[in-house]
C-alpha cells in the first residue's frame, strides 16, 4: 500500500504538470483512507451529541453523494466512485453544530459539490475546497442555525451549551474582567462536567500539589474533548489519531500542518493576550488548540487537500505561514465561526498565487494561450 502512494507523491519534490489527478484508482484509495481516518472523531461527536449528530452527518453525506451523482449525470461523467464526495460530505457534517436544522448540511454539501467542484470539472480541478465553500456559505446564510449547539451527553439538559471559544468571546463582548482564557471562563460560570472537576481535583491534590502546581478546572474536558462544539470539532486526541494514521500511510505529509499549527501557536502565545487587554506572551496556545478540534481538523484534513494547496515544498511552507497568521487574526477578531474554515478558504484563494511564485520555471510553459 505504502509504496503505491510513494509512487504518486515522491518524497523529494511534488511538482507535477497541470492535471493533478493521479489516476482514479489511486485517488479513490486516497479519499477512502481520509474518510476512514475521519471516522473516530465523527464517531466521538455522535457519541457526545446522540441522534441529532448522526442525522446531520447522514444528511451531509447523502446530499453530497446525490449532488455528485446529479452533476455527473449532467456532465455524462459519473465520478461518484472516487469517494471524494463522501469525504466532502463527512467534512461538511463534522463542521456543523449538532443542533443545526437539516436543510443546512444538505444545502452546504450541495453548494460545495456543484458550485465549487463540479462547475470546475470535478475532482482535481477545483481550486477551492468544496466542503469549506459549502460550510462558509452556510455560515453566511444561516448564522443562527449554525450556532445551535447541543450540550454534551453527560451534562444536565438544562445547561445552555456553548463551545468554550464562543463563551470566551461572549464574555469579552459583555465586558467581563479581563484575564487568562480559563479564568475568564470560570468567572463567567462555564459548565464543565462533573467528571472534569473530580479528575482535575484528584490530580491537583495527589500529584501536582507535590510540586506546588495547580491545574484550573476544565483541563480534562478540553483534553478529551468532552465539550460542546461542532460534531467533528470536539476531540483533539481522536483527530490526532486519524492524522497519525494518514501520516503513517503517507497520504499527507507533516510539513504543512506542522507549519500551520506552529505559526498559529506562536501568534496565539505572543499576541493572544493583547486584544483582551493583557500583555505580550500571555496568550494561551494550548487553550486555543484544545478549545475545539476545528484547528486540528483543518490543519490535518483540509489544509492538506492536495488539490487546493500549493505543489512545491517551499510553497507549502508559505501556505502554512499564511494559514497560521490568517487563522489567528480571524479567530481573534472575526465574527464567523472559529476562523479556521474562512482562513483555509482564503488560503485556497492564495494558493494559485503561491504556486505561481514558487514553481520552477519551465521555459516551454510560458503561455497557456487563454481565450
Amino acid at each position: 500500500m505504502a509504496d503505491v502512494h510513494q509512487d504518486t507523491r515522491p518524497a523529494s519534490l511534488v511538482v507535477s504538470p497541470a492535471p493533478h489527478v493521479t489516476g482514479s484508482a489511486s485517488s479513490a484509495r486516497l479519499s477512502w483512507s481520509v474518510a476512514f481516518c475521519l471516522l473516530p472523531a465523527a464517531a466521538w461527536g455522535v457519541f457526545l451529541f446522540g441522534v441529532p449528530a448522526l442525522g446531520v452527518l447522514g444528511v451531509a453525506v447523502a446530499a453530497s453523494l446525490a449532488a455528485e451523482l446529479l452533476a455527473g449525470l449532467a456532465a455524462r461523467r459519473v465520478t461518484i466512485g472516487d469517494g471524494s464526495a463522501i469525504v466532502t460530505g463527512l467534512l461538511v457534517g463534522m463542521l456543523m453544530p449538532p443542533g443545526v436544522p437539516l436543510y443546512v448540511p444538505a444545502a452546504a454539501s450541495g453548494f460545495g459539490i456543484i458550485v465549487a467542484k463540479q462547475s470546475f470539472g470535478g475532482l482535481g480541478r477545483n481550486w477551492m475546497n468544496p466542503a469549506l465553500a459549502g460550510v462558509v456559505v452556510a455560515l453566511l446564510s444561516w448564522s443562527d442555525g449554525m450556532s445551535r449547539w447541543l450540550p454534551v451527553r453527560s451534562a444536565a439538559p438544562t445547561v445552555t451549551a456553548v463551545p468554550p471559544l464562543e463563551a470566551l468571546r461572549n464574555a469579552l463582548t459583555a465586558g467581563a474582567p479581563r484575564g487568562g482564557a480559563l479564568e475568564m471562563l470560570r468567572a463567567s460560570g462555564y459548565p464543565w462536567s462533573g467528571m472534569d472537576s473530580s479528575v482535575v481535583g484528584w490530580v491537583n491534590t495527589h500529584v501536582l500539589s507535590l510540586f506546588g502546581w495547580h491545574l484550573p478546572g476544565g483541563c480534562f474536558d478540553l483534553l478529551v474533548g468532552n465539550i460542546s462544539g461542532t460534531i467533528g470539532g470536539t476531540s483533539v486526541p481522536l483527530l490526532l489519531l486519524g492524522a497519525a494514521l494518514l501520516l503513517s500511510r503517507r497520504v499527507i505529509r507533516w510539513q504543512l500542518p506542522v507549519t500551520y499549527l506552529a505559526i498559529f501557536c506562536l501568534a496565539a502565545q505572543v499576541f493572544g493576550g493583547l486584544p483582551a487587554g493583557g500583555g505580550w506572551f500571555v496568550g494561551n496556545m494550548l487553550f486555543q488548540v484544545f478549545s475545539g478540534g476545528g484547528l486540528v481538523l483543518g490543519a490535518f484534513f483540509m489544509a492538506t487537500d492536495p488539490v487546493t494547496s500549493p505543489l512545491t515544498r517551499t510553497g507549502q511552507l508559505a501556505y502554512g505561514l499564511c494559514l497560521g497568521v490568517l487563522t489567528f487574526f480571524l479567530r481573534t477578531f472575526g465574527s464567523l465561526g472559529d476562523g479556521v474554515p474562512l482562513a483555509i478558504l482564503l488560503g485556497n484563494c492564495l494558493s494559485p498565487l503561491i504556486d505561481r511564485f514558487t514553481r520552477p520555471a519551465f521555459p516551454t510553459q510560458r503561455k497557456a494561450a487563454p481565450g
Binding site: R125, V136, P275, C349, P352
Partner: protein, 198 residues
C-alpha cells in the same frame, strides 16, 4: 476614521471589486500574465488615487460653492477621462514598455466603472483631501490584490479541462464569486475589533 482604517476598509473590507463589484470586467478578462496584471493594476491604482484627489478638489472648490451638485456626474466623468488621457500620454513618453505590458490603453480604463466609482465613493463619503487620496490608493491596492489572485486562479483554470459551457469568462466570474465569499471573512466588525480591540 483613521487613515489606516480607511486603507484597510477599502483594501479588504469594502473591496472595490468583491464588495462594490466595480471593475469586474478587467478582473475576469484581462491578459492572464503576471507582468501585464501588475502593470494594469499599477496604472489603475495611480489613476484612482489622482482621480479621487481631483474629484475632491472639484467637489469642494467648484460644485459645492456654485451649487452645481446636479452636474456632478458629467464633471466627474470628464475629469476621470482627462486624467486617464494625460496618464496615457505620459506613459507613452516615459514608459512605453509598461504600456505594452498592460496591453490595454490606459484611457480604456475609463471603460470600466472602477475609477469613476472610486471618485463617486470618495465624494459621497465626505472625506478630506488626504483621506480622498487614501481612498483612491486603497481602492487601487484592493484592485491589485484581487486582480493578482484572480489572475493566478485563471492561469490555473486555463490549463484544466473544465465543462465546455462554463469555459472561460463564466468560470472566471464564478471564481470571482467564490473569492468574494472568502473575502467576507473581513467584515466591519473584524475591522473595528482589529483597530480598537474588544
Amino acid at each position: 476614521m483613521s487613515l489606516l482604517g480607511i486603507i484597510l476598509t477599502f483594501t479588504l473590507v469594502d473591496n472595490i471589486v468583491l464588495s462594490r463589484l466595480l471593475g469586474i470586467c478587467p478582473c475576469v478578462s484581462a491578459p492572464s500574465d503576471m507582468r501585464g496584471t501588475a502593470a494594469a493594476a499599477a496604472a489603475t491604482s495611480l489613476l484612482m488615487s489622482l482621480s479621487a484627489l481631483a474629484g475632491w478638489a472639484l467637489q469642494t472648490f467648484l460644485l459645492e460653492p456654485l451649487g452645481l451638485g446636479f452636474l456632478r456626474t458629467p464633471v466627474f466623468v470628464l475629469c476621470v477621462a482627462c486624467i486617464a488621457g494625460f496618464l496615457d500620454l505620459l506613459a507613452r513618453r516615459a514608459a512605453p514598455r509598461l504600456l505594452r505590458a498592460a496591453r490595454v490603453p490606459l484611457a480604456g480604463v475609463v471603460f470600466n466603472c472602477a475609477a469613476l466609482g472610486v471618485v463617486l465613493i470618495a465624494a459621497r463619503g465626505g472625506f478630506s483631501a488626504l483621506e480622498s487620496l487614501a481612498v483612491g490608493f486603497a481602492a487601487g491596492a484592493g484592485f491589485f490584490v484581487v486582480l493578482s489572485l484572480l489572475t493566478a486562479i485563471r492561469e490555473r483554470l486555463d490549463v484544466e479541462s473544465v465543462p465546455e459551457w462554463l469555459q472561460g469568462l463564466p468560470l472566471h466570474l464564478i471564481s470571482a464569486g467564490l473569492l468574494a465569499f472568502a473575502f467576507l471573512a473581513f467584515d466591519r466588525a473584524f475591522l473595528s475589533r482589529l483597530l480598537r480591540g474588544w
